[in-house]
Amino acid sequence: MELFLQILVQSITHGSIYALIGVGLVLIFRATDLINFAQGQLVMIGAYISITLSVSVGLPVVLSFILTLLIVAVIGAAIEYSVCRRLMRAPIMNTIIATFALGVILQNAVILIYGPEVYSMPSYLPSHPIALGGVIVSVQSMFIVGVTIIVMISLFLFLGRTKQGRAMQGAAENRVAAALMGISVKRVFARSWMLSGFLSALAGQLLAPVLLVEPNMGIIAIKSFSAAIIGGFGLPATVVGGYLVSLLENLVGVYLTVALKDAAAFLVIVLVLLAKPEGLFTRQIRRRV
């Protein structure tokens, strides 16, 4: 029982990260109809910038945290402006290849600038674990989950209640109609990418003290792809998907073998895409051709 609770804690922690990255993915997809295969690299950049600002530049933690979020948001907008705008009329394969290449560029730029060694981010929180009813929880885990909840709630409030948020939802649903209604679709694109960059940097900074910061850490985004696929690329469903993927992989990791842990996420992708590609939570009628 205690083991299961421990697994649960682990799953909720990691699931929050997957959910954050996954929501970033879905925001971009719903607004611009393209999957950002460089999402993981944005996460990685968030972690690296955060370390640079707090360790090398020596800024206070809170300042470097917020500054990193803003910087990566700007990077996201820059990507949108330079790459995605030009690919708006291109075939799907080209956009996929483009974001893929972008990921390669970002990753290797980081390797060139920082070197291929791993860095470890000094934890900015007290590091002694807390015992909560039989399970050991680290303060970092609680911080991750707490921040995720707050950010998610804020995000959904933003999307549902503010003018800009509703504009984004409208443009996601029907770009032409939104434009006709006076919504600046270009601004929606830019905002989606900025939000996505923000969320990725957040995930990266939450993750940095837990994992080693290395150029390949962006590979975690594949789990978020699973989450987004499970969620059918819908926003709340992707969050649930993130937790489901995390739970599944931790269960597999503990009760089967650790080696299969990553494979669980891949298996999920393939199975869900085969059985129910619109996501587990969507009730749409599929196009059967």
Partner: protein, 319 residues
């Protein structure tokens, strides 16, 4: 035909004079052009996004090496077995392709690539995992392939054969079926082109090409390791297609040449090479998506279009 014999003769004269490293590069270029040809069939002609090619490369390399070391076959049967085995894997991978397209297919093949790399890394009993596998020097009948110069001829033969095969496929009803599926699945189905069959065939062909390339790679490099067959490898294959030109016969070859030669011209760290590859892919996919071969084709077509009709007919009828 005469041209082929002449060029073969010329090669026979030139090759022995070239330096070992040059020959090694030529071998690698040919191996990568095989990979690119296979990927071109599935992506350029059949229009199916396939990010799993790196894994096919790896499966072929391991299958062939195991045939040579564990079973004791010589290189040619091992290569054939590796090709067939990887083709079968291609069929399995192609199965999800029947129901997926676009982004979903990209993600599924990406996941498959990672999963296969995981299997290669962790299946110690078969693949020795992170230790890698050594590939011994092989021989064809009595002719020992002890040097790059000797291996060159084997690779040249295989590459030429596969090029001829891909040329024949593209110009046959199979190739036309591929492009039909690419351009409009529904219309193709209406015309009686069973897209499930053609999609599966496309994936299995890319598997076969990848498998054969992997087998030759193991011979040339002598040591294989799971880390060489992951996402970065799939990106390289993609780069070859984008740079060289998808959907053309010569595109893969141009792509392979560019991909292998360019880093040789830029001396620097390995990270710099990968960065340049990424930048090139991005620039090309935005500004020159048809690739080098596509640009050449456009130049030829522009030249043809400018001629008066009588000369144009004469040009077009030249073989």
């Amino acid at each position: 035909m005469a041209a082929a014999v002449v060029s073969l003769g010329v090669l026979a004269l030139i090759i022995p004079t070239l330096a070992d490293y040059t020959i090694y590069i030529l071998n690698i270029i040919m191996i990568y052009s095989i990979l690119a040809m296979g990927l071109n069939l599935v992506m350029g002609y059949a229009g199916q996004i396939s990010l799993v090619n790196g894994a096919f490369f790896g499966i072929g390399a391991y299958a062939s090496t195991l045939c040579v070391t564990a079973v004791g076959f010589s290189i040619v049967p091992s290569m054939l077995i590796a090709g067939i085995f990887t083709a079968m894997c291609g069929v399995v991978i192609g199965f999800p392709a029947l129901r997926l397209s676009g982004h979903y297919l990209a993600m599924a093949t990406l996941a498959a690539n990672q999963a296969i790399q995981l299997v290669l890394t962790h299946w110690h009993s078969v693949t020795q995992g992170m230790h890698g596998l050594n590939h011994p020097t092989v021989s064809i009948y009595r002719w020992e392939l002890t040097s790059n110069h000797r291996t060159f001829w084997l690779i040249l033969a295989v590459t030429s054969a596969l090029f001829v095969i891909s040329h024949n496929i593209v110009n046959s009803h199979v190739g036309r079926g591929f492009t039909a599926v690419r351009d409009s699945e529904i219309a193709a189905e209406v015309f009686g082109i069973r897209r499930s069959m053609y999609k599966t065939l496309a994936f299995s062909l890319s598997g076969m090409y990848g498998g054969v390339a992997g087998s030759l790679y193991a011979v040339v490099v002598g040591y294989i390791h799971p880390s060489s067959f992951g996402l970065l490898e799939a990106v390289n294959h993609l780069a070859m297609l984008v740079l060289g030109g998808m959907g053309t016969l010569t595109g893969p070859i141009f792509g392979a040449v560019i991909l292998i030669v360019l880093p040789e011209l830029i001396t620097g760290l390995a990270g710099f090479r990968a960065l340049v590859t990424g930048v090139l892919i991005l620039l090309f996919i935005i500004f020159v998506p048809q690739g080098v071969a596509g640009v050449l084709r456009q130049l030829v077509e522009t030249r043809l279009a400018r001629m008066p009709p009588s000369e144009r007919k004469a040009e077009e009828e030249r073989p």
